[in-house]
Amino acid sequence: MLRAMLRGVVLMFVIWVAGLGILRVTLVPAQVCPPVDSAAALNSVHAAVDWAARAQQPDGSFVYEWNANTDVESSAYNATRHAGLAMSLYMLAASGDMSGLQTADRAMDWMVAHLYRHADWAALRDPFDGSIETGGTGLMLAGLEHRRLATGDQRYDGLMHELAGFLLAMQQPDGSILLAWDEAAGAPNPVERSPYATGEAFWALTLMRRLFPAEQWEAPSRAVADYLSTSRDRVEHQLFPPWNDQWAAYGLAEMAGWPLSDTNIAYARTLAERFGFFVRFESGRRHAWWSNRLRGPRARSAGMGTWVEGLDSLWRLASKDPRMRDMRDAIAERAACSVGMLVDRQVSAEGAKSYPRPGLAQGAGFSDGVTRMDDQQHAIGGLLRVTDILDARKSSK
């Protein structure tokens, strides 16, 4: 009888251990969040800013993408990502740190040299494929808005209104913003939409209201916010809504004091949940073959940077709006985790020495040996403001 009982116990024990082991490896691996403080985050920002300065070409453009394994620079370019990197440098300037301003101004000169003008508006034209899109224009406008916030210089006010005019020309009655201008037709392309462009334009429009409060920027901004909150995922066929749109989060945070509608808040809450899930999932990934197989490859720095940007914006919204107050601490925890991973994966000065071109490695984030300009853009955008979260968590402890 005793032997039979022991056999049953051992069998049960083996089944439990095997089951727990499978769960541990597949669904609930340890979630590793490297410790980080605001000083480390700002050091990381400056390393990325320095990367941008070193990667800038004489005409103001940047090294778009560099494969460290083959030491080959990509011949492609993307005006929207160019505008995004410049914008992140202007955001840093608006926070009081002017270390990236010259680099940003040179990048702005490049954009000004590639403007397309029609009627009373202007837009950024991608010189590599000729496209005229809202995303790049929206980020160019957001960059100029932060430049004005940083310097008070009004020289680009006219251009800002021209760029904003293009965004309004692309806006549809439902609040959505189409992706591209069809130069041949002399009208917006009615078919093309982008999961990024609407949010990019949205944020730029909300900042116009802050800079020019006497003008009518609130109605179009609210129209986009409502479209994003109620219709975008359905209209644009998002399989797993909501689309993880950090630009929307930026815009919603900018609107926090307007204030936002209940529908907008409901959407903001779902965004926080989505970013939080991404961070939790990423923190369980390892730089190992079995993790690649089971949980996919680690996210690139650009992706993690967007999560930090989104969470940081939503934390600011949760700090102001009582309807999101209950999420504030959880958002801060996920943001801090993502910042830790982002900083941890950035190539240090010491680590860069092992690369064929240390100047293009130091301060960069790599994925499969490749770094792209937006890896640094989103790292800067995410890390420069998240110090408020890190400091708040430190003081609360």
Binding site: M1, A4, M5, R7, G8, V9, L11, M12, I15, W16, G19, L23, R24, L27, V28, A30, Q31, V32, T270, A272, E273, F275, G276, F277, R280, G284, M327, A330, I331, R334
Partner: protein, 185 residues
């Protein structure tokens, strides 16, 4: 539905008294009257201790394993779904005991059936999210109900049907738990 009522439904589905009763009926059909009362009592008492430990140590356990409670919900959902599907398929929960007699059966029933993977995983997950008190109270009610059912010895066909229906409920609960784990921050 109050939070406690919701937890009670979860634990009744996770413990699945009908399924435990069915497995027990297959395990010790020839017990005498004394054994039929003693075994459920000992089993329920042992299970209560195990549930108290699982719920009480939930947060330290998750901290030790570096798992956020929100992430654990996803894993718990999978465990509950497997247990629910198993109940739908088999009726009686599979267990590791093949012996008969009052000395061995309570242990098998308590650990393998009443305090099985679904119930204990739920105890850890819900305790981490909603606290020890409500979680353990709900688990305790489910354990007591199970013990009472074991003592009452209802007919096997009735147990079989209820066990499978409860399994279906558990699958639905599991889906909700896993979804909440994905949707949480």
């Amino acid at each position: 539905m109050t939070e406690f009522a919701r937890l009670l439904v979860v634990f009744l589905a996770a413990v699945n008294p009908a399924s435990v009763g069915l497995a027990m009926a297959r395990l010790d059909a020839d017990q005498d009257k004394r054994g039929r009362l003693l075994i459920p009592a000992v089993a329920a008492a042992a299970a209560l201790v195990v549930y108290a430990a699982a719920a009480g140590l939930a947060q330290p356990l998750l901290d030790f394993l570096d798992i956020a409670p929100e992430s654990f919900r996803l894993a718990a959902g999978v465990v509950l779904a497997v247990a629910g599907a198993s109940a739908i398929w088999f009726g009686a929960l599979p267990h590791g005991g093949h012996d008969r007699g009052r000395h061995s059966t309570p242990f098998v029933v308590a650990i393998g059936l009443i305090a099985g993977p679904a119930g204990l995983t739920a105890a850890v997950s819900y305790s981490a999210d909603e606290g020890f008190g409500h979680t353990f109270a709900a688990a305790a009610v489910a354990v007591v109900v199970t013990g009472g059912l074991l003592a009452a010895r209802p007919q096997r066909p009735a147990l079989d049907a209820v066990a499978r229906i409860t399994g279906a409920f558990l699958v639905a609960i599991a889906a909700g738990l896993a979804t909440s784990g994905v949707r949480a921050i």
